[in-house]
Symmetry: C2
Subunit: 199 residues, 2 copies
């Protein structure tokens, strides 16, 4: 468990170093559209890997009353939803504002990304109305719970796989475009990030 | 469950159509090194997605005695190991025999691929000596079993993610090299394969 938290933190560090040090940092209003894109990996790893991963172990691995843990669980996942939307928005802005514009939603990464996003919102809403407000009858809750856990873990795996696909895609663009070499500091860092996400 | 089998079969059909109809088919002794590569996706999906997926549900979803199911489980996974080695060999041959040669093991796909392969062999050997021959003492078996199930499912998820990374990488090479367009029959087929693997 300590390992899990450590890997989650490490993935945050690695994605930040990648975007900041190698890809030139972050900006929202800029002519360098690549700097807008850089929000995408950072926000997605923070929301859909880090916050997601920490929120689903809250019930098991932290102290406190059930009511508090429930609020923490739903709030962290609500925050994750919002940051994920901003993160995906950054990717779309990068595509639309590039000259010439880059088409949207052509890749396996983007398809699975949208599926993850849609599944996540649905999961949050169903969780909210069933377990929080207005809250279902006891037999409804106990019927939904195993599905909630199953889909929650399935979407987590999908989210990790999507993030790995994004890393590979970004790196492949840079490498086939000869912006960076196949072997080198940046490639090793990004591949390492992908390996850490698998852990 | 019927859905699971149907998706497994569909992934086989899709990867075959992709390699055969769009990528020009299969060959082992040829100057067209791309035809050697084409064994890679077909063999990997057949071994590490199809056979793997069917072998791990044998205990639950087929009739027959425990001893028979055990033999089927270990044989299917043994066959999967052999075919996976040939499939990875095909990818290495493609790299080494291309002019100029393409370097090996630079990508996240190949790193996770090797990790999957290594994990799989280890899992098979530990499974074999613990549950088949010579076979551990009962308390040894019951200690190993939950780890066997956990790693078996973890490696399955890793294997699926690796296959999706391979699909994205191949498609990205073809698209950035302008061999095929971003939107079109081949891209849709390959992305669909990636989505089906997630199911
Ligand atoms: C689970 C987390 C993630 C989700 C849900 C996600 C989702 C998306 C979506 C929906 C798009 C399409 C944008 C458009 O078509 O305009 C996209 C694009 C992109 N993402 Fe991600 N992403 C995630 C993580 C990452 C990470 C960690 C990277 C690493 C660099 C990344 C790299 C890219 C790249 C290079 C593109 C542009 C190319 C393309 O459209 O496939 N993504 N992402
Ligand atoms: C996308 C959003 C969500 C995801 C991915 C998610 C995921 C999960 C997962 C994986 C578990 C199992 C945790 C464990 O086994 O320890 C879980 C448990 C639970 N979740 Fe969620 N959840 C989400 C939203 C919500 C919301 C909005 C609520 C509303 C309160 C909620 C209430 C619960 C409850 C009551 C449990 C059971 C805790 C227990 O008794 O062990 N979830 N969730
Ligand atoms: C779980 C299944 C898979 C495993 C374990 C796996 C493993 C590997 C390995 C170890 C390599 C490195 C070869 C070298 O460096 O010479 C490789 C290369 C490659 N594989 Fe796969 N593969 C899998 C599935 C797929 C699939 C389904 C595709 C779809 C087309 C694919 C596409 C590629 C491509 C394009 C390369 C060459 C580029 C690179 O080295 O990353 N792979 N694979
Ligand atoms: C890479 C190879 C292997 C993988 C990925 C693997 C995976 C799995 C998985 C996921 C399960 C859980 C199935 C379920 O819950 O229904 C399982 C069960 C089992 N496996 Fe394997 N396995 C492998 C090799 C072996 C070998 C070589 C043996 C030797 C006989 C073996 C013996 C067993 C046994 C006895 C069970 C428990 C069946 C039961 O009582 O439910 N496995 N395996
Ligand atoms: O050999 C075996 O070991 C496990 C179990 O007995 C461990 O407790 C099992 O199901 C077998 O067939």
């Amino acid at each position: 468990m300590a390992t899990k938290h450590a890997l989650a933190l490490l993935s945050l560090v690695l994605v930040t170093v990648w975007s900041w040090k190698f890809r030139g940092g972050l900006a929202w209003n800029t002519d360098k559209k690549g700097l807008i894109f850089n929000w995408h990996p950072i926000l997605m790893v923070f929301s859909f890997v880090f916050l997601y991963g920490e929120a689903i172990v809250v019930y098991r691995f932290y102290g406190g009353s059930k009511a508090v843990k429930k609020t923490v669980h739903l709030s962290m996942l609500g925050l994750a939803s919002i940051l994920a939307v901003i993160g995906v928005w950054a990717a779309f802005r990068f595509h639309n504002e590039s000259t010439p514009p880059i088409p949207n939603l052509y890749s396996l990464h983007s398809w699975l990304g949208l599926a993850t996003l849609g599944g996540f919102f649905t999961q949050w809403l169903v969780g909210f109305v069933t377990f929080f407000y207005p809250g279902g009858a006891p037999q409804q809750r106990s019927y939904v719970l195993p599905w909630h856990v199953f889909f929650g873990l399935f979407l987590y795996a999908l989210s990790i796989a999507t993030a790995q696909l994004g890393i590979l895609e970004k790196l492949t663009f840079l490498q086939t475009g000869k912006t960076i070499p196949r072997f080198g500091g940046e490639a090793t860092l990004a591949n390492l990030l992908g390996v850490v996400l698998a852990g």
